[in-house]
């Protein structure tokens, strides 16, 4: 035991605090505070002051410790940002593969250190650009990828053996990943060299983001196929990015984000273990993805609690031996849902604070939202300001000079403890329901998030929570923001390109590849190699996904409100 304060010192401090509290009362300032109730954006009540009494039970070794040592409260790398800064990874994607490729080249030139791809809705849902369901959506909020040729155009001229690539894709993640591997191999780069991340987190789709294709059980099976394949064949790839980001965007509280995300991580671990994999073979490749929301301290505490909780889950619950398995490495994106269309330049300030919280919380990579993200896909100028925001935090503010600079703050440590305790209670509840899949089937996380979102909106509407420029300090004038206009022709051009490829391919070979994919789905053997073969034979994204839909069925929105 190494309690932070010994008994004598603690008693003295407590006496002093009691005296101070009495003083407030005698001055009658304790009853004339600005608000009746102070609370975080997640509605957590906050006390007037935090002091040693709040961390009396804290044991330095057990609860805080040093970076890269269990329980990792202070970070996973031994020298954190003194060694290497976080990866500045700006999410980009628009129009056709060629358009996005241009943006990628620009970002790399501006100093970005990792690529991150946004796909359009048809791609995210497993439809080609020529599908009836894609009408009006092609290239709209990301890049359209139908065939291997699109993937090749997307990364043309980029050093994919040196730069890592993150791809935000879920139901068709296995297909898109197969295209990436095939693209690399066609360029003569071995699959064991490429590095990157596919989001591939289906559980949070059912919980929050609602981009789904097949029912939960086969969806998780496909995820597990990629985990297995990655472990064996693509060792530098993060096969799942277990995501709380979308859970938060859907309106959850900070604790719910923490609990449901780690709950999903537990479920994926259980599934991979059932596959006969060793926890230490796959767990080091799990990565996480969190939201950085408005409430500065609560967010920092959330990141610290997440690291500590995952360390305990891996070490104590799953008995992982490799310290790498205990690491919670995470990407952060600032909160899109916190941005306002009103007075859009204020968004730069919001994003700065959120980015700072992520850095103080020890993130491994970061996307900062552009000021116009609430209106449309960012312009180049807006995206550059967002990147500069990170560079200023990294190289001017000095916050990256020391590790975990907020550690030891009474408030931060107390919040970290509270968040951990409450999130573990929710995880226990999920365990009692029979795990995350059954909790989802019972609509438990969906309903909890829906309730939290409605509560928050009501607080904003009543003015209990302030949104600057919206429910306070609002102005009627609108500030014009330059908007990115997409070429309305691109849908037609993309469809033509896909149709041309469809006409030129060898249909017998294609048929054979798709049949093998179907067999693999039915026989529960790993789908990845058949997929790689199929996309090399120019099978389209939708053709592969149609095989999934045919074998596994389609999932439909249960409509929880």
């Amino acid at each position: 035991m190494a309690l932070t304060f010994d008994k004598k010192v603690f008693e003295d401090i407590k006496k002093a605090e009691d005296r101070w509290t009495e003083k407030l009362k005698s001055l009658k300032v304790d009853t004339c505070e600005r608000l009746e109730r102070f609370s975080t954006v997640s509605d957590r009540p906050i006390d007037r002051i935090y002091s040693p009494k709040d961390i009396r039970e804290q044991d330095f070794d057990r609860d805080i410790g040093f970076p890269a040592e269990f329980p990792f409260t202070r970070g996973v790398q031994p020298n954190m940002y003194r060694g290497r800064l976080w990866t500045m990874r700006m999410f980009a994607g628009l129009g056709t593969a060629r358009d996005t490729n241009k943006r990628f080249h620009l970002l790399v030139k501006e100093g970005q250190t990792g690529l991150s791809t946004a796909f359009d809705m048809p791609t995210l849902m497993g439809y080609d650009s020529d599908s009836q369901r894609a009408r009006g959506e092609c290239g709209k909020c990301g890049v359209a990828i139908d065939t291997l040729k699109d993937m090749e155009d997307l990364f043309e001229g980029l050093p994919i053996d040196k730069i890592t690539t993150s791809m935000t894709i879920n139901p068709p993640a296995s297909v898109v990943w197969a295209m990436y591997i095939a693209m690399a191999e066609n360029r003569g780069i071995d699959r064991n060299v490429i590095g990157g991340t596919i989001q591939n987190d289906m559980l949070k789709e059912f919980i929050a983001q609602k981009t789904f294709m097949c029912p939960p059980i086969p969806s998780v099976r496909l995820v597990t196929d990629t985990v297995e394949f990655g472990t064996r064949e693509v060792p530098r790839w993060n096969t799942i990015s277990i995501s709380g980001y979308h859970i938060r965007e859907a309106g959850s509280t900070a604790v719910q984000e923490l609990a449901f995300t780690l709950g999903d991580g537990i479920a994926y671990t259980q599934e991979a273990l059932k596959r006969g994999l060793d926890v230490d073979d796959f767990a080091p490749r799990f990565s996480f993805f969190f939201n950085s929301h408005l409430d500065f301290f609560e967010e920092i505490a959330k990141f610290r609690a997440a690291r500590r909780m995952w360390g305990k889950i891996m070490k104590d619950r799953f008995k992982a031996k490799n310290p790498r398995s205990w690491w919670l490495r995470f990407h952060t994106q600032t909160a899109g849902c916190s941005l306002t269309a009103q007075q859009p330049y204020n968004n730069v300030v919001r994003t700065t604070l959120q980015a700072l919280a992520a850095v103080l919380g020890g993130t491994q990579s970061l996307h900062t939202n552009s000021l116009d993200e609430v209106l449309a896909i960012p312009t180049e100028e807006a995206a550059t300001i967002a990147l500069r925001t990170q560079q200023i935090i990294a190289e001017e503010s000095g916050v990256a000079n020391t590790i975990d600079p907020v550690g030891g703050s009474y408030f931060i440590e107390k919040l970290t403890n509270q968040l951990e305790e409450e999130a573990f209670a929710i995880i226990q509840k999920i365990d009692d329901m029979g795990g995350m899949l059954s909790a989802i089937e019972k609509n438990y996380p969906q309903q909890e998030i829906a309730d939290a979102a409605y509560r928050y909106q009501r607080q904003v509407d009543s003015g209990e929570k302030t949104v600057v420029g919206v429910n306070k300090y609002a102005t009627s004038e609108t500030i014009p923001v330059e908007m990115l206009e997409l070429d309305e022709e691109l849908e037609r051009l993309q469809i033509e390109k896909t149709n041309r490829i469809k006409e030129q391919r060898n249909s017998a070979r294609l048929r054979e590849c798709l049949d093998r994919l179907e067999d693999s789905c039915r026989s529960a053997t790993n789908v990845m190699q058949p997929l790689i073969d199929a996309v090399k034979a120019d099978a389209t994204l939708q053709e592969c996904c149609d095989v999934y839909r045919k074998v596994f069925g389609e999932y439909r929105d249960p409509g929880i409100y």
Partner: protein
């Protein structure tokens, strides 16, 4: 009115939708339309589906629609959801699970709110059934949350009534025992992959067997089926059992269309008269707020309910009862 009835019989979707709205909103002119439609009713087979919230009724209905469509039958659906007692509004969310059928011309789906008027749900739902029947739907599926008497009455008027439960709902089985057991023609344990399925099965079996003497002389004894509606498992068997019950109904009551059987007609007529009387007697009072004032008087102790009742009834009937 003649035009409305003709359009309904011709299957005009907008007219049907509007007429059901008018029925639900209590528009007096609908009576004439319903009178004209009555000769065109009696053809459809009505299936009632009830059970507690969360047992998967809508998902089951969605699968039942698919099975009926595969057999070439047209389907009407009335999905009843509770009205919020606080606001009078309602979120009608059952449709979400059936939306894939929304563009099928052989399917008409309509969400209704309970609204909490005096026995009106039963009447308005029955009228809506008549409209869908006259429109030419072969099967009409009526889904309600089996809680209030009104909702039970709604499914009671179906030809075949399904009671849906899920495993591990001990208390709900008690509720069934107390209220709706007698209306169940078929019991369905949905989500039957869950723990406790066998226990629920034996609980139900016991309950039904307690009424052993009811099922003598070849009387229909409610079977208990297991389904997993999400995966379409057991639904085919359920449809077969519904068909058996349909044949049983025919055998027992001859070719007479179900709703025209003497016992049913008597019961429904009595209920209709009751509802109409309530409407005539207090409908206007409720609207003008006078009813509420009388209630206030009783609450504040100025008036007893017996006197209040006489004050309302006597002027209408014109004599002491």
């Amino acid at each position: 009115m003649k035009e409305i009835a003709e359009k309904v019989v011709a299957g005009d979707v907008r007219t049907v939708a509007r007429l059901i709205r008018d029925i639900d909103d209590g528009m007096p002119h609908v009576r004439d339309a319903l009178k004209r439609l009555f000769p065109h009713t009696g053809r459809a087979y009505v299936i009632g589906i009830t059970g507690a919230p969360g047992v998967g009724k809508s998902t089951l209905v969605d699968q039942m629609i698919s099975h009926l469509r595969k057999n070439g039958k047209t389907v009407g659906v009335l999905a009843v959801d509770p009205t919020s007692p606080f606001s009078g509004g309602a979120i009608l969310g059952d449709r979400v699970r059936m939306q894939r059928h929304s563009m099928d011309e052989g399917v008409f789906i309509r969400s209704l709110a309970t609204r909490g008027h005096f026995g009106g749900l039963t009447q308005s739902t029955r009228s809506a059934i008549d409209v869908l029947d006259a429109m030419g739907k072969d099967y009409i599926l009526v889904e309600t949350v089996g809680v209030g008497q009104d909702e039970v009455d709604v499914v009671r008027s179906a030809h075949t009534t399904l009671i849906i439960v899920i495993p591990g709902m001990g208390d709900d089985i008690q509720a069934i025992k107390a209220g709706i057991l007698e209306v169940g023609d078929i019991f369905v344990i949905n989500k039957a992959d869950r723990d406790g399925t066998d226990k629920t099965m034996s609980d139900l079996r016991l309950m039904i067997d307690m009424d052993q003497k009811k099922y003598k002389d070849g009387k229909w004894k409610p079977p208990i089926l297991k389904t997993q509606a999400v995966f379409d498992q057991g639904v085919k068997e359920l449809m077969d059992t519904i068909e058996e019950h349909r044949l049983y109904n025919f055998k027992t009551h001859g070719d007479l269309p179900f709703r025209k059987r003497k016992d049913r007609v008597g019961q429904e007529l009595a209920e209709m008269v009751k509802a109409r009387l309530i409407e005539e007697v207090i409908g206007g009072l409720v609207e003008s707020g006078a009813f509420d004032m009388v209630v206030e008087e009783i609450v504040s102790g100025k008036l007893d309910p017996y006197t209040a009742c006489e004050r309302i009834v006597i002027p209408v009937l014109g004599k002491r009862p």
